[in-house]
Structure formats: structure tokens, C-alpha cells
């Protein structure tokens, strides 16, 4: 078993926190995990990409080869389109529909969503709205993990454990909000 995930977004959107949640859930199930991150210059509002690999075998490369990824999980719709060349024939794109506009030539949102809908398998998530409904717009990363969870060979309890591990220190309210955010994401693709 091997799952390769490209995590995308804009520097500052917390792409690494997506990777951390999924990585923790996978480690809890005894899987091998490799997660390549971006630090430094690109984190200043630039396009950010993280390669996350889960497997029951030892993983050789920290980078995912082109044409083989199982999933693009993106915090931003334009960014989700940037890495399509990595996708395998059976892969899915799960992306937030909320644009992050910090460039002058950002295409119209509808055009991006239309391109996404033309893909064989795309799940579009209103992450910001769902996060706000869950109690905190900052929980949108957890919403996105929830939305992708069906596509990952990991148990629901492992995600719950990962959320607890990640947010417990921030207090009961933060924990509850993130459980609600995960649930909201989960229901998008249920």
C-alpha cells in the first residue's frame, strides 16, 4: 500500500499543518511517512508545495515522481491546478474553493472552478464557510483534511487521535472546533 499526496497552497495558509495532521494519523497506524516541506523564501506569500508519502513499505524518495500521485490536497483553487502533472490516472483533486488573491493576474474564480470541474475526479470544498460554521475560520485546514479523509487508507479514530494530539494544548474549545471542522469536511465527500 502506498499513498502519495501533493499538498498545495500559498505561503502562510498552513499547508504544513495539513501534512502534520495526516502524518500523525498515518504514524499512529504504523505506516512509514515522509513529508517534504518548504521553508524560507517561498513561505512569504508564494506558491507552496509539500510532498507527503505514506506506505507500508520503506519509502525511498522524499519527492513524489511525476504522474504517480494519488491526491492533490490544496488550500487554494489556483494552486491545486499547478501540480496536475503529478497525478496518476486514478487520482483525485480535493481543493478549497476560496481564492487567495495576492497577484495582479489572478484569473476569475469561476474560470478556475470550471477547469477543476472538468477534471475526472475533483472535490470542491467551501472550506472557509464550513470552518466559520464550525466556530473558527482558522480551522479550514482541518476541514480540508476531513474532506480528503475518505480517500486515505486511514481509520477515522486515527484522525481523531491526530486532532487531539495537535490541538489539545490549545484548550477544550479549540479541540471541539477542530473536531467539528473535520466532521464538516468529512460530510462534503460522504
Amino acid at each position: 500500500m502506498k499513498i502519495d499526496i501533493m499538498l498545495a497552497g500559498v505561503g502562510g495558509q498552513g499547508v504544513l499543518s495539513l501534512a502534520a495532521l495526516i502524518g500523525r494519523a498515518a504514524v499512529a497506524e504504523g505506516l512509514h511517512v515522509k513529508q517534504s516541506e518548504v521553508h524560507g523564501m517561498a513561505q512569504r506569500g508564494g506558491a507552496v508545495l509539500s510532498h507527503l508519502r505514506l506506505s507500508d513499505q520503506v519509502i525511498a524518495s522524499d519527492l513524489i515522481p511525476l504522474g504517480t500521485a494519488d491526491l492533490i490536497l490544496s488550500m487554494e483553487p489556483l494552486e491545486s491546478l499547478r501540480y496536475l502533472a503529478y497525478l496518476s490516472p486514478t487520482a483525485t483533486v480535493v481543493t478549497s474553493v476560496d481564492p487567495f488573491i495576492n497577484i495582479p493576474d489572478y484569473p476569475p474564480k469561476e474560470e478556475i472552478l470550471a477547469r477543476l470541474r472538468r477534471l475526472p475526479r475533483a472535490v470542491l470544498v467551501e472550506a472557509e464557510r464550513l470552518a466559520r460554521e464550525a466556530g473558527d475560520v482558522l480551522s479550514r485546514n482541518t476541514v480540508m483534511v476531513g474532506a480528503a479523509a475518505h480517500l486515505l487508507p486511514l481509520r477515522r479514530e486515527s484522525f481523531d487521535g491526530a486532532i487531539r494530539q495537535t490541538f489539545e494544548a490549545k484548550g477544550e474549545r479549540a479541540l471541539e472546533m477542530n473536531f467539528a471542522a473535520f466532521e464538516a469536511g468529512w460530510r462534503v465527500s460522504a
Binding site: 518548504v38 506569500g45 519527492l63
Partner: protein
Amino acid sequence: MPRRILLGDECVALGAVHAGVSSAYAYPGTPATEILEYLLEFRRRHGRPFAAWCANEKTAMEEALGACFVGRRALVSMKHVGLNVAADPFVNAALVGTHGGLVVAVADDPGMHSSQNEQDSRFYADFARVLCLEPATQQEAYDMTAAAFDLSERFAVPVMLRLVTRLAHSRTAIEVAAEPRPENPVRKALRPQSWILLPSHARRQWHDLLGRQQEMVAWSEDCRWNRLTLNPDDRELGVITTGLARNYFEENARELASRPSHLHIGAYPLPLALIRRLAGQVKRLLVFEEGYPLVERLLRGLLDTPLPILGKLTGEVPLEGELTPDNVRPALGLPARPLTNPGDLALPTRPPQLCQGCSHGHMYHALKQALAGQAQSTVTADIGCYTLGALPPYDAIESCVCMGASVGMAKGASEAGFRPAVAVIGDSTFLHSGLTPLLDAVHEDADMTLIILDNETTAMTGGQESIAPSARLKDIVLGLGVDPGHLHVVEVLPRRVPQIAELLRGEFAHPGLSVVIAVRECLETARRRRKLVEVKPS
């Protein structure tokens, strides 16, 4: 054995702790920053080892050397270009015969994700005649760091640990030692003259170092990180990999009809006998290395070899940028993987940029207003977030070469006859390498204006504290001898932009040295500080 999920950088830090390191020094630089960050946090929690940020990589190396001078184990970490700054103490540290282990962790950045060049630090290790270990996995990063301290003491040389971005910034679970080794006791060298590199001593030390080379090669021949796997059934191709290249080779190897004989090199000096054994078995050699073609060049030499050697120099492997699981395929005779969706080339790019509301942006507006109307002008700049002022909408700077270069370059341009010459530098970069060129400028009263963007932090690498607090910057500049009449401290607020422009215009007209310190805390650092304050009371 306990398991931990760690970043490659953190594996180095924990490896050092478990090897009994007493002191760790560094200057922040991507992709090496997280080594010392981990150790600082470790120190906060456990009280040991000593760990601190330094003014620059050279001072860091010298402070580490001081710890080794009294018999302790020390770690110094930096990004690849930092080793240029620290090259003087590094190369000479190879001569002194250190008895406390010194490990120099250097993180290279092939592909230049966050750097000005992609120089390969292994050349420095070769140049200084010391051992170099190159991990291919996080586990190796941990194991090699621990081993590097032992090797440093055994061979009485600093040991380089060469990392690259993709390892430094990749996270995975590793097994760690249950019990850390105790720290070395404080003990001065038995032969202190070895540390006094007077020519007569230095000649003896150099002779000794050269004498130890054979032992180092002998160690390299059968160390566990240099592994030769021969395939007697396939005599066509032999593959040599170094560092991360092994992972990309392995990622593709199962698609090969037959597995070639393979030598992986994780430790230098090169294991000559292993290379000869491989070469004796095959008709062609293919070399994959992350970085410059160091091994390939050494193998090839100047004259043609009877055995064809393929790699970066012959074009089979890309000479520029980092290796990937994809770009090593052609050399292995594998076709490109089929792409279901080639992607959309028409997407707008999203380059990094200054945060919304960052004071650097306001300062660049002021600078451009002040320069408007000048027949000619030049703005040299430096390394940090403010380098992004090179991009639209600012287009405000014309150079970024190395730490501190802005100051000396503005002076040189002005003295060559080009004025007004303006230098822009951040507070942390100024303290790293801007003080000495400013001293030069004071000495000549150079006709230039230096703008120090003081955001009270090292912002680009994640907001480490600058080595001197903002409040002292003015005194430091005055102490260097800058004329108080032409030293100004301004607070950068959007509404003050016209006033600041006016002030700058006045100083451009002054036919001598002026310094303007533009103060405003980095927004990111301020946000993190507020968070800390919020968390503390609970």
C-alpha cells in the same frame, strides 16, 4: 529503540545531543535554521547543551572551536554560503588537532530554493582535508551526526556533515538512542602548541594532517556508509550514487530489467578500493550525485579513462538544479513516466512577496520618491525579506550578492564616480557583515547613504532575535564613527513616507556618508510575540 518523528535538521540536532554535545552555535539560514532552533528549545527544557545564535557563521565556528579547545564536543551549523563566511576558521581548524569533537553541519541548497547559489560544500571538506559524511535519510542524519563526533576525536579533525534541502526539510520517523552519551569533561589539549599556528607549528600540523589521510581513506573503505553491491550477472553498468541520489535511484531501480552493480558513497574521503572493485566489474560507470560533479570529476581526471564515465559532465544527468525521481530516469535508460494530465501551462505564477503592510514596502516607496528626478542613481541591497523589493510592484533595488555586500558595493560604486549610491540592508544582515564595510565608509567619509531596515528580527528565516537589540543599533553605528549630524533614526509609518523621502533627498545631496535607520517591527514577529504573551498567563 524509541521512535521519533523529526525533520532532517532536527535529526542532526538530536544526534548531537545524544552524542554528548556541550555547545552549539549557528547563524540562521535556510535550510539549516531548524538545527539550532531544535537545540535552543532543548536547552530551554533541559538546561543543556549550551546553544546560541551568533553574529555570523565565522563567529559561530570560532566559538565552537573554543569549546573543542577545552575538550568539549561542539556543533556548528549553517547554510552552504555561510561556510564561505566561516571558511577561514574551518580550514584552519583542520590543522589544530582538535581533541574535543567538532561537527560542522552544512546544508546545501541545490535548486536554490532559498539561496543565491547552489555551491557544493563537499569541496570544502576535500579542500580542508577532513572527513565528510553525507546522509541520504533522516535516520542516517541522526546516526552520522553521532558518529561524526567520534570520528572527529579519532582523527583529530573537524567532520563535515553535508545536508541538502530535501533532507533537511523532510520529516519522518527515526529510531533514536535510549541513553545519551555523557558530555566530555573540560580538559585542555595535551599539546597546546598544536593550536598555535605559527608557521613552524603549522608546517608540522599540516604534515601530520597529510599523514592521517591514508588512515582516513582506510576507514572510508569499510565504513558502513560506503556500500558496494555487485551483481555478477550484469557486467554492463555500474552505478555510483552519493547522498540523496541513492533514493532517486532506488525509486526507479525496480523498473530496470536487471539491477546494476551499485556503490553508494555516504562518507568521504572516497573509498578508492571500492571504486576500483566496481570499475573492474563493469563496462560503463554512471554517477548520480546531488550537487556538483565532485566524484565524477575525481574519477575522470584530465585524461580519458578506458572506462566510459557518464554523469553530469557528459550530459546524462542534469548539471544544474537538484535531482528528482524523474530527471535521473533518462540516464538509466527509462522513459519518462506517462502523464495523464500534463497540467496547465497558462497559470499565473505566484512568486514570494512582502507581507501585506510590511514596513519594507513603505520604505521602498519613500526611497523611490526620494530618487525620483535624479538623473542617475543606484540602490545596492542585501539578503533578507527586503530582497523581495527587487520584484514588482517595487522594483526598487539593483543588487543582492552576499551578506553585507550592499554596503561595500555602494561605497565602491560611489568612489568609482556613480552617485547617489544608496545601500539597503536589514538589521540582522548589517550585524552579520555590514559593520566592517561601514567602517571602511567612515574612514573615507564615502559619499553614500546607508539605509538600515531595522525590523528588530531575522525575518526571512522565521524571526530569530537579532544579535543586538534594536535600541542599541544607533549607538553601534555612532561607535563606528558615523557623523551624528548625518545619522537619523526614523519610525516607518505609511503616513510618514513623504517626510522620510524628504529626509533621504537631503542626505543624498550631502557629499559624504549618511546613515538612516528605519525602524518598524516585522509584522510576523510581532504576531508571534503577541501569541506568546497570550499563551503565557494560562
